[in-house]
Symmetry: C2
Subunit: 328 residues, 2 copies
């Protein structure tokens, strides 16, 4: 069997994650990394070739699927649209509010090229979204809950770093155990923002900085922290480097609902992720979607898709008969 030939666009945390992920797949092979930097200056972990990003369009016959590993704010809105003109593509676009707009732009370019583009693949958006959909479809009379963490929120960590006097910071989002238990009981509670999550901040301050002022600036920051119970710990850079270098994350999606006579039977669906590495788990989803994009395109499909549009079997390397025998 010919292996599916994969290219990586952008070599940050996600790009490196895809490089690892493809070592665990027998049906896909990494054939190159594309970068905006000088290709000669980029050393990748494996021995695949590194190309300048603008060479890609000349290599249509060398890659079956491109996995876009850039950021949602500045890279993907243009890159996914552009690469879908020449390749099947997969991205992890995660700015929830802008997904409809991104979908429309990518759909136009991939329909024109006759390629398949899968966007917003990851865990949220991604596996969490899937579980919200399945839950609502199965238990129409019920409620949805999504909790995030325990895990590092990059956006909140960045927001703390912008405060004067702060050298470095790491912010953990933590679901409130009591809220999880109430949802798990099936009571379908209405929960405020404060009741669902707490925020824990590890901050490295400049020598002589006004710690009370920094703590106050964090705790009162609108949108990011003001609506949460927030704890601030000042630590040294060494301690931050040693104990907070990882990028763990995770969370829980619940669907709870009722059925039967006067809704007397309660049901709880709980989908929980506990991830040591947020980007490496995300790239597991991206790799599976690359397989699906290739297979769908082989069947003549084109246009923009999300995990909602992909029959699960396309994501798994085994054929239908094997899946039914072993997993159904």
């Amino acid at each position: 069997m010919e292996k599916i030939r994969i290219g990586i666009i952008g070599y940050g945390n996600l790009g490196r994650g895809v490089e690892y992920a493809l070592e665990n797949t027998e049906d896909m092979v990494l054939c190159g990394v594309f970068t905006r930097r000088d290709p000669k200056s980029l050393k990748v972990r494996t021995d695949v070739p590194v190309y300048a990003i603008d060479q890609a369009a000349n290599m249509r016959d060398k890659f079956d699927v491109m996995i876009l590993c850039g950021g949602s704010a500045n890279d993907l809105p243009t890159q996914t649209v552009q690469f879908a003109r020449d390749f099947n593509v997969v991205d992890s676009f995660d700015t929830h509010a802008k997904i409809p707009e991104h979908f429309a732009a990518v759909d136009a370019s991939s329909r024109e090229s006759g390629k398949v583009a899968i966007i917003s693949a990851g865990w949220d958006p991604g596996m969490f979204s899937l579980n919200r959909l399945y839950g609502q479809a199965i238990l129409p009379n019920g409620s949805d809950y999504t909790f995030w963490g325990p895990g590092v929120s990059q956006g909140h960590s960045d927001a703390i770093r912008r405060i004067p006097g702060v050298l470095d910071a790491r912010q953990y989002t933590i679901p409130v155990e009591a809220a999880l238990e109430r949802v798990r009981s099936g009571e379908q509670p209405v929960l405020t923002t404060r009741e669902k999550h707490t925020r824990e901040c590890y901050v490295v301050a400049e020598e002589g900085a006004d710690l009370a002022a920094i703590e106050n600036a964090i705790k009162t920051m609108p949108n990011y922290f003001a609506d949460y119970d927030t704890t601030v710990h000042f630590i040294s850079q060494e301690e931050l480097n040693q104990n907070h270098a990882g990028i763990p994350h995770g969370g829980v999606v619940f669907r709870t609902g009722t059925t039967g006579e006067n809704g007397k039977h309660k049901h709880v669906i709980e989908y929980r992720l506990k991830l040591d590495s947020n980007p490496e788990f995300t790239t597991g989803v991206l790799a599976a979607c690359a397989r699906a994009a290739f297979r769908l395109n082989q069947e003549g499909v084109s246009g923009c898709k999300t995990l909602f549009d992909i029959a699960p079997a396309y994501l798994h390397p085994a054929d239908g008969e094997t899946l039914r025998k072993n997993l159904l």
Copy 2:
């Protein structure tokens, strides 16, 4: 919008569950119940017509999808094949070892008729199977675990009832908490049958029966109990009726795996169900699959499918744009 017209074949626990489930769906309507009994003798909860099962073939233009609510041992192997000749059908066939055979037979008859047949819809097979598939696709370097319960096992309860001196019985399958915790930690343990589940039996014995002999017969029963730590409680029929009348069930599917440099990052995916009513949850899945069967057939699809072959969006009443906006 025209509603999808649903028929129920067989009016036991599942049939009644479908009848309830369709009260929570705005796009589907129950149009009739088919029974092997004399239709005049069957009183259904709602006011839909009741028909003799052999009238169905004459009512092809009155039903869009038939939901088969019979048993896997004796009803579905013939009924699903037969009804797929005239209708889109959905069943919850759950004899895991015979799924390939059932699939082949149903596929042949539904391809011939140009209809869609979705088999083995429920939670195991069904939602649990889906989570095994997604987990393997995302974390190829890992292990699967399925735990069942706490819940009533009908097959094990029946096995106890066949022992001389037993009047009635209810058997609960219970996952071992310590095993769940080991899996949740990501250590990927190898677990024996005994380490994963315990079995708890509530037994009503005839007056004067040899209780020790009954307990021994249960605990040493091959396949059913001998490989498990089993507890037997003798209780009165009244107590059984009062405290053990429900059909709760549930369980957990885990996929745990590693990624990155030397597999140093662990990931745990946990999908957990806690169900007050096993049949009513199953019928929630059946109803969603009926929607998918109808929509797929409208697009010209035919043949046998499982949840593995169905893009999730087909199961949910909302359109793609709404799903992306609200759930992705």
